[in-house]
């Protein structure tokens, strides 16, 4: 196809980078926001603005809460369609669990319910979810969407697409192509080290933009590579489901062997038995961790087949002091409270895997590292954005590529300023919509996508002058939109919650204070960019008139 490796890699980098870049910038941006997803949750749910809590008592709070969790109505409806006959009034509980980190004031609960009579799947099950205040056991209304952890975060790893695993797969393909883009980028960038620090700001647009693209790409190369790679490893079981398909037989056999070896019963016995004191088991688990030289709090508590004689309780440690995730699980017999099994020390392969997945999923407690991650993620966004801009600038005056250039520019606007507009819009909607509005979360999400769609329309409408070698005014106009909406969000936080910036700074309530500060910074930056764009638009016009 091409005469040299470099030529072929350049083609791959340009075209795959361009097409997948639109997806990747969304993944990078919402990934960056997700680093502080729980802090964003605090901003959008003022009723949760209290200090993080540890895992509460099972007997006192959790047991009652679990019993009040119910199957999700949409999953129940779907299950009714795939079973033979009627579903029982009360579905048999398969397991339930509670999960918390050092950043969570509220506690996340889930339950899995067995769905009987499915001819295709004997282990069919549906889920129930809830969020509670761990201090009182009170349930948070389902309509109160956690925009950070339940919208921005799923946007990051599955583009908020629900149907089958389509969202996961699209993100997976984008991540794979990103690895390819990084490798090909390194191959084509001859002066990798010589131009490591180079940003010739005063040169013409193409040189300046390419310098910035190269710098943000190369300087953060370890970050970009390891995040794409670890992201793929995390969902490898979705991308390469060999154990569920081709290797189903040996995988299932191995799982049963393992359960037998550990003494953890796979299936319920069908005989009921009361659960012993889980709080006592938690105390025992903490003691065992201390004895192993790793004292800690409970991160994840899981009960398999509660109420059955085969039931067991698994208690996992919160991994806030190291990169690995909840680990060092300890498993107890639910009925007798006896210790059945302690997870052994990890093997070399496990350690590598835990390190990779842990560096991506970030359960550790380290504020500096989180902020450095955000900067890295934003550098990735700048790398992709400058890639788009370079692509357009290079081809702007080529009369043969007018349509391509116009489309790319419009999509670039949508995926950069448009995406920012949509993000601001959901925050504003969150503050404006009434607290008790039914399906409030759904309305907030609608606002997000509507504004994004409008920004696409606006970008297309204003991009026709790109064909003449000029800068589309959509960039500047949307920058002004971002500037205005971000300030509006800060003001609305003040008027609707009373937690204005001076108050949160004085009280040291960092989740909300930081959010307001970031929004104000964003506003300032957007204004600066808008003003500079007006200058550049004028210059481009002058150049065109002269040329």
């Amino acid at each position: 196809m091409f005469s040299t490796l470099r030529q072929s890699m350049a083609w791959v980098h340009t075209w795959f980078g361009l097409v997948l870049g639109f997806l990747l910038i969304v993944i990078f941006f919402f990934g960056s926001l997700s680093v502080f997803d729980r802090e964003i949750d605090r901003w959008v749910l003022p009723e949760t603005r209290f200090e993080p809590q540890i895992m509460p008592s099972y007997e006192g709070i959790l047991e009652q809460a679990f019993n009040h969790v119910a199957p999700e109505t949409d999953e129940l409806a779907a299950a009714k369609m795939r079973v033979e006959g009627e579903l029982p009034e009360q579905l048999q509980i398969m397991n339930w669990g509670a999960y918390t980190t050092h950043r969570d004031p509220t506690l996340y609960l889930y339950a899995e319910y067995a769905v009987p009579n499915n001819p295709n799947d004997p282990f069919d099950h549906i889920h129930g979810y809830a969020t509670i205040d761990p201090r009182t056991g009170a349930f948070l209304p389902k309509d109160h969407l956690k925009i950070g952890s339940e919208f921005f975060y799923p946007m990051h790893y599955r583009l908020y697409l629900h149907w089958e695993n389509l969202g996961y797969i699209i993100v997976g393909v984008a991540a794979l192509i990103m690895l390819v883009a990084l490798v090909s980028g390194v191959i084509i960038h001859r002066k990798l080290f010589r131009e490591f620090f180079t940003f010739r700001r005063h040169k013409h647009t193409q040189r300046r933009v390419l310098d910035l693209h190269n710098m943000t790409g190369v300087v953060a190369l370890p970050f970009h590579f390891f995040f794409a790679f670890s992201g793929l490893v995390i969902f490898a079981y979705i991308y390469l489901p060999v154990s569920a398909t081709v290797l189903q037989t040996p995988a299932f056999a191995a799982a049963q062997e393992e359960a037998k070896d550990k003494g953890l019963a796979f299936a319920p016995a069908g005989q009921s038995a009361a659960i012993a004191s889980v709080d006592t088991m938690v105390v025992a688990a903490k003691r065992l961790w201390s004895e192993r030289g790793m004292p800690g709090d409970v991160g994840y508590l899981f009960v398999n087949h509660p109420g059955d004689i085969n039931s067991y309780v698994s208690i996992y440690r919160a991994g806030r002091d190291a990169v690995s995730l909840v680990g060092q699980g300890i498993h107890f017999n639910s009925v007798t409270g006896e210790l059945i099994y302690q997870d052994p020390d990890p093997t070399a392969i496990s350690i590598i895997n835990e390190f990779l997945t842990g560096l991506h999923l970030q359960h550790f407690e380290h504020w500096l590292l989180r902020w450095l991650y955000v900067i890295g993620g934003l550098m990735g966004c700048i790398c992709i954005a400058t890639g788009f801009i370079f692509f357009v600038e290079k081809r702007k005056r080529d009369s043969q590529q007018v349509t391509t250039v116009r489309w790319v520019d419009a999509f670039a606007v949508t995926s950069i300023t448009g995406m920012l507009l949509a993000t601001m819009a959901i925050l504003v909607a969150n503050r404006l919509l009434p607290v008790d509005l039914e399906h409030k979360g759904s309305w907030e999400i609608r606002a997000f996508f509507m504004v994004w769609l409008l920004s696409l329309g606006h970008a297309f409408w204003r991009s026709n002058i790109v064909a003449q070698g000029l800068i589309s005014p959509a960039w500047r106009e949307q920058c002004w939109g971002v500037a205005l909406l971000s300030v509006l969000a800060v003001l609305l936080n003040w008027t609707t919650t009373g937690d204005h910036l001076l108050k949160t700074l004085f009280n040291g309530y960092w989740p909300v204070a930081s959010m307001d500060l970031v929004l104000l910074t964003l506003s300032g930056l957007s204004i600066k960019v808008a003003l500079s764009l007006r200058q550049r638009e004028g210059d481009a016009l002058l150049l065109m008139e002269q040329g």
């Binding site: 196809m1 091409f2 490796l5 030529q7 072929s8 890699m9 350049a10 083609w11 791959v12 340009t14 075209w15 794979l176 690895l179 390819v180 490798v183 090909s184 191959i187 790679f229 793929l232 490893v233 490898a236 079981y237 390469l240 060999v242 154990s243 081709v246 290797l247 037989t249 040996p250 995988a251 056999a253 191995a254 799982a255 393992e258 093997t347 392969i349 496990s350 590598i352 895997n353 990779l356 043969q400 590529q401």
Partner: protein, 100 residues
């Protein structure tokens, strides 16, 4: 740079597919065979799976780039897709008849 405007759409689709789809099939086979070989050599199943998942995506990036350096896509298809299918079959046989 490249003469991308002169490349026929069908050729492009073939070229892209051979690396993307061929690469995926190759990695699928690599993972399947790798896991079964690992178990056969004494590794616990989940260990073997974890190891292969760590390797799989590096292999994909490599074979993908390799594909674009090869002149004829037929070669890419044969090696990647063909190799992938062969490895999958081998791994499936190993898993079905020797490991259980």
């Amino acid at each position: 740079m490249s003469r991308s405007s002169g490349l026929a759409p069908l050729y492009l689709i073939d070229r892209i597919a051979s690396s993307m789809v061929g690469g995926y099939l190759f990695v699928w086979g690599f993972t399947t065979l790798g896991i079964t070989l690992g178990v056969w050599l004494g590794m616990p199943y989940l260990e073997a799976q974890t190891l292969l998942y760590l390797l799989a995506f590096l292999v994909y990036a490599s074979v993908f780039c390799w594909g674009f350096t090869v002149q004829r896509t037929a070669v890419v298809w044969t090696v990647l897709a063909g190799g992938g299918v062969a490895m999958t079959l081998l791994g499936w046989c190993l898993g079905r008849f020797y490991l259980t």
